[in-house]
Symmetry: D2
Subunit: 378 residues, 4 copies
């Protein structure tokens, strides 16, 4: 019997977790010491594999295909992620948040906990709350915050290591979320999904960072919607603002979309013609992930993860790029060494790390342009 | 206890398999009726996830991370593959073909059988033999064939549905393999990994097809090394030759590399600067997979699968493109419908299938060219 | 005897010019009525043809190959330019500004006047002053302005229609030039060669526009260094500033570089790897010129010309795009009609103007990227 | 009075020509000694400048704008062309071949002769005959050859140095032309405008070369329709055929289209979406021209010229690349030195010839693909 195939054993699992050595370092301790490598986006990965639906992006896979969810968590851990986020994205959009009578959130929590427990190194488990339809519908702060509180409850009950507010278009809504998450007593990481032009209400990245920090977030930054280069540009703006406001004890986080979006409109991938089914040509290589991690670290970002599109090879590359900053060696690296040194004989130019790090990979697509026009709505 | 986590139960598993309903249709029956959708390449997928090493590409994952191998099989089945190939690629390069005392081939066979058994539809399981170092070293036909016979033994013992000879640079070696595989009494699918310029000994695609057919292969074609467009071009040449030689009762198979290679040199991806770590920009979209499947079917190819780089979304798209030719609906499609109809509202151009099928996706890489120079060896 | 081949007849020519009907409208009258189409850059065109040296860009061609200079003027007029600028760019860098005893400036003035005189429509002739080395060397305002005055003298003596201050990296130097040019009593058009990031002293486009306007320029804008899209973006910034400052009686001018430079560094083409010998792939099509002219006019720009890289086909396209705004039909258009209507039969998609106006032309360069890194200096 | 502006002096001009030193070497002598640099296409250049109409491509400019035609000839000579071809392309499509009573062919001949006479080095003048509508209409050999004879008459009367048969889609028609041209007693250069797939009747490049050689052409090859790389590929096929047939005393000629066409359909640029108004992005750089000339010479081609799209900078680059093979230094090179050495200071990477010769220039067009689909006819 295994959560891979059934959820009846969830209680038992959690008992096991309770007995885990409690001496693992928390998020803030780790951030104080150096860089923390995050994971990639669960729901996007599930869609690619046929376990979720594009557009809806609800996490029924946690109940319907737990083995797929569990294996994705394992892949992230194997490749060096120090954190697992539950596969609960937009679970609130599922009817009653259950599938065949099983709570999706409970199932998802159990899977993340199981993967963490299996790992040879101590892994942090985080739960996240995301933007609500309620806010867009104009509901009051009380109503919106009640919803956040309801979501938070799962993570509190499971004694998660920290909590995340993410995927917010409105920094104002994110602030409400942060206020609620603070109630848990856990460290709070809060991100908006914006580019350098700011949020849906025209709050600039600088303003967003200050608002989230002042609302009490321990870590602030951006996630999703824009590729790594755009996200780093946005975070750099946040950094300057925090510094000027003498709020630079607040850590920075970045969890970009795993695809290059130099031509994204103000709402990021949502307005791109290739989203969601034809983004593939834009996907980051492991080299892109390597360089992204190096740049993020150089910029002073401490929480360096990914979002939709980041898979094992990206996390591995980030982990290997920043081994000196994390003090950790990913399981895959212990087994095989750093990927950059593992291919080809000496008389082949591919044996040289420079070959890879300075490469501008060809696209193999002579009938594709580099950038495209944004979606036109009729 | 579960093969996900242990292999002690292998015997028991096989007993279960023995008791499976034997009324599933075999490969040749299916090919006679219509198109058969193959799976994607296991070892490449394992490398992307950190469970294999680029360059070596040996399948120790079958023992070290069986849950990863099993889950990949499941992903293929979930997305519509009718065939599972064992994760045994280049197992002969492992020392004694064991890892920690467990036979990799045995473990890999058990995983493919388990995934097939779990499936709601009858799935064919195939084992493959590939090129040997012995041939390149100039060993005799007897020695090389003995090696093929040794590999074949695993599949015979496990009563596999059919056998495959694949990844051959020399059609002459492939012929020797076909002769051995024929001894099993199982259907034999044989492919060379060549482009339109022919094999390593300058045998043209036409000659390769005829030689494989005359050696007794039931299905002939190409796999790996070149992207879908190049493979289809090569198979078209094979088709004409078989027709002219009145050998068109032999079925055609194509299992391309999942990346576009319009600029590949004669040895395919092996000579490309981006191989293996920077191929990502070239990866097929699910649209490419859709169009590839349609074209392959139009050309008369009956066995339409993939090789390295094909993942769930590609298999799904091929399955959905050819539903009318296979008479099967993939599990993912039963659950969610065809992907092409599932995104966006009517006032968004992305709600229109034409938007996707006619798209030339932008690459998001303004500093990348479409094609590159081949590797220079020093 | 003809100025094509000798300059001894210059006096006589000028007498002819004196007898030209004086009822042609001046620059400001034309700008008040609508759009004025400028010409393209003379010295770049001379270099392409082998009559000038890249890097130096001095106008010895006016004496050494007057027929080439004259013919280029004619080409601009034939294609719809209403203005001819003399081929005097950087004449001050020539030793004593003479070639074989002939004054380059005198020769260049005669050629522009001759081409204007020949034209069937009244053409304006303009002389320009450009940045001096003196300014960069830290010379005083008096010294720098004395140099401008010396240059201006040629144009005053030849009774030119208006004067231009252009190719300035420092708006402060451009202001000094404007002050001198105002002394002529002629209309003054003043441009800086900057992008949206501003001039070499970090004056923003907005500040540059205001300074030039306040110094007395009748027309302000940008020229050269950046391609059409970048120039229009810069001019849009200038426009807003002039409007806010209630200086919108000052006309706007734009004379871009004729090549696309989306990846230009702050100093424009000067810092691009392809400059000057490999810019060809970036050259504007006549369609680009058409769309550029339409956009410039829509933005409210009245003086719409080109700089380096603009040749006959571009000027024609701008003239044809804005026929309704200029009230003029170019000689080439009178002879052949608008180019957009002249190719192909009805059953060919190229017979449709939409085919051309919506086209994103392929580059034919599969080994080229869209953008490049800037020059690295050792 | 000057042919720049009037043609009444044509007789007188020709008298002057008659008195030219007759010791200039003829085409065959030059080819025997080394490489001969040709010129570029006249009619395409005239269209770009507004003196001809796209699609029609008739040479009325020779009468309407003789100064433009003359100046283009001069540009080619100045940049190193050793040959001038008359601007008579498709003159037969003009009504009665006159414009305002003046014979276009006479005017065009006079202009080429004048430009040759002016030159400091001895320049060869060549007249060409091109495909007729008569052939396509099915007229007899007699009728078609009578038309060629009529065209040839102009060149014979003007005592041209050699004659060219070019722009033939059907090698059979080209053979008829060669037979007629041979009657002149002048050297005959004959090209077809085909790619590697052969002519409109499926004669392969090899067959075309043999047929032209056997019809008596002294020089055979290809011109126009395809870019330089494609043309060189085709000529290489011709070369092998001539060698095998022991006809390698026949010289090879190549005069490509000046734009890259890796994606051209079988009829070359005629079937390309960008033809004729949006080819600009594909235009050869002077570096491309340099490398093209080197490759052509290495392949053994002796007559190396250009066709539509080649302008001064390309001819210069070809001349400078092959100075050692021609024994000539172009006037532009005498004046300024080789372009490749003339830009930038030592601390700028652009001072290094390698910078230019190894460059893959960026296109500046992030919304353009490298290749495009061919024209669809309705």
């Amino acid at each position: 019997m295994d959560p891979c195939f059934s959820f009846t054993r969830k209680q038992e699992e959690n008992e096991d977790i309770d007995s885990m050595p409690s001496n693992k370092k928390g998020l803030l301790e780790r951030l104080a010491e150096g860089v923390v490598i995050g994971d990639g986006g669960m729901i996007w990965a599930m869609e690619l594999k046929g376990y979720a639906e594009a557009g809806k992006y609800t996490p029924e896979a946690a109940v319907e295909h737990p083995e797929a969810v569990l294996q994705m968590h394992r892949e992230f851990v194997h490749n060096g992620a120090e954190v697992l986020q539950t596969c609960t994205f937009w679970s609130s959009k599922l009817e009653e948040e259950t599938v065949e009578g099983v709570s999706v959130n409970d199932a998802a929590c159990a899977l993340a906990l199981k993967a963490a427990k299996e790992a040879s190194d101590p892994i942090l488990v985080a739960g996240s709350v995301t933007k609500t339809d309620l806010y867009e519908q104009g509901e009051s702060k009380e109503v919106v915050q009640a919803e956040f509180r309801r979501q938070l409850d799962f993570y509190v009950r499971n004694d998660f290591d920290f909590v995340i507010a993410e995927f917010f278009d409105h920094v104002l809504e994110a602030e409400w979320a942060v206020e609620v998450l603070k109630e848990s007593g856990k460290p709070v990481l809060a991100t908006v999904c914006i580019g350098p032009e700011g949020d849906a209400d025209s709050f600039s990245p600088e303003q967003c960072a200050l608002r989230l920090a002042r609302a009490g977030a321990d870590v602030v930054g951006v996630n999703c919607r824009f590729g790594p280069q755009t996200c780093l540009k946005t975070v750099a703006m946040m950094k300057r603002a925090l510094k000027l406001a003498k709020l630079d004890h607040v850590y920075l986080a970045v969890q970009p979309y795993g695809y290059h979006t130099p031509d994204a409109p103000i709402n990021g991938y949502s307005g791109m013609k290739e989203f969601p089914f034809a983004m593939d040509a834009r996907v980051m290589t492991r080299i892109d992930a390597y360089n992204y991690a190096k740049e993020a670290s150089k910029l002073g970002v401490r929480y360096i993860g990914g979002c939709c599109g980041f898979e094992g090879r990206h996390i591995r590359s980030m982990s290997e790029a920043l081994q000196g900053k994390t003090g950790r060696i990913a399981p895959v690296t212990k087994r095989y060494g750093k990927w950059i040194n593992t291919y080809a004989d000496k008389d082949d130019e591919r044996a040289d790390a420079k070959h890879w790090l300075e490469m501008k990979p060809a696209t193999g697509r002579p009938k594709s342009s580099a950038m495209s026009e944004s979606v036109k709505y009729s």
